[in-house]
């Protein structure tokens, strides 16, 4: 029996490209439907390629669940900006928002699949990170 979506870990996708972020989100939805909260952000404040802390904070807020959110990122700036965004969260949320070291598309799909089964944040993160070479 799956838990309701509001109780599952949420998924945030942060890419340098809005198209990549949206496309990855489409693939997540195809896999898990509406059973997890999902938000994506891509591009810089001017609409070009890049990442934007304000956009990441808004996506974290949109995907927020009491179980926390797992954040999937592409290249370095997405990771650094996501870590910065997590530090800007209030203390309760900060402990429940994690950046996963995983490929963005595969990581988002597998993390969401794990989250849809009701797994806690650390298991969702761990499952996504098993995709990365150690």
């Amino acid at each position: 029996m799956k838990k309701g979506s509001a109780e599952n870990v949420g998924i945030v996708i942060v890419s340098h490209s809005a198209k990549v972020a949206e496309g990855a989100a489409d693939m997540v939805r195809q896999m898990v439907g509406q059973s997890v909260r999902l938000a994506w952000t891509g591009g810089n404040a001017d609409g070009g390629l890049g990442t934007d802390v304000a956009g990441i904070l808004a996506a974290i807020d949109a995907a927020w669940s009491p179980a926390g959110v797992a954040i999937l990122v592409d290249l370095g700036g997405a990771e650094t900006n996501s870590e910065m965004a997590v530090e800007l969260l209030d203390e309760t949320r900060r402990r429940k928002a994690v950046v996963c070291n995983a490929p963005i598309v595969e990581g988002a799909v597998i993390a969401a699949t794990e989250a849809a089964g009701g797994s806690p944040l650390e298991i969702v993160k761990q499952t996504a990170e098993e995709l990365s070479p150690q």
Partner: protein, 210 residues
């Protein structure tokens, strides 16, 4: 003596330097990265410049913190959190009217914060390769000639990143091909250090006073 006029003079000098060199920074980044450093830094420092009057009225630590937050929110790219963290963590240990030694100690702590943010260390062809020698200069103050020495140290340290091989950031994808180009983040620190020295050495123009 640090007051609102001097602080605004510093903000204008630093933001003007970055904005004026945005194309050069972009060209450096195009050589070994994704080519967005100049336009990103310009976006962030324009936001700082637009808020210069408000920032300058704050005590120095509060000003640095607010300035860093502008960079975090506006720069985008990895430079936003990295330069934002630099200024925000400088704020943590900076007295309102610091001695050079106190500024050096604050810079030391800020360097540690930048290392943690970028998961990087000195010698990897980054902004740290200019920040660390500058901190050493401040820790070793023994003459009245600090400004020129500081400026020379910044220039030499930034230029010394050219023969380095990038270990962190997008430039590291190029491996040995990153050798021979100055690091754009190092150039930005050089520009900022130069502007700070010039602004501390010149009187505050009346028309700049907030």
């Amino acid at each position: 003596m640090m007051d609102a006029g001097r602080q605004k003079h510093l903000i204008l000098a630093v933001t003007d330097a970055i904005i004026a060199h945005a194309e050069e920074l972009t060209a450096l980044d195009q050589a070994i990265g994704d080519g967005d450093h100049g336009v990103n830094m310009k976006r962030g420092f324009e936001a700082v410049r637009a808020d210069a009057d408000n920032l300058a009225m704050k005590p120095l630590p509060d000003m640095l913190k607010a300035l860093g937050m502008h960079l975090v929110m506006k720069v985008g790219g990895a430079s936003g959190p990295l330069f934002g963290t630099l200024f925000m963590s400088l704020a943590r240990d900076m007295p309102a009217d610091p001695s050079l030694a106190e500024a050096g100690a604050a810079l030391g702590h800020a360097i540690e914060a930048v290392k943690a943010r970028g998961k990087s260390s000195v010698g990897q062809k980054t902004m740290l390769d200019v920040l660390a020698p500058l901190q050493a200069e401040l820790a070793n103050v023994d003459s009245d000639n600090v400004g020129p020495r500081f400026k020379r140290a910044a220039a030499e340290a930034a230029q010394a990143t050219a023969p380095m091989k990038a270990i962190r950031g997008r430039a590291s994808y190029l491996g040995d091909r990153s050798i021979g180009h100055m690091d754009p983040g190092a150039r930005s620190v050089w520009l900022i250090a130069d502007a700070i020295c010039d602004a501390l050495a010149t009187p505050v123009p009346n028309e700049e006073r907030p």
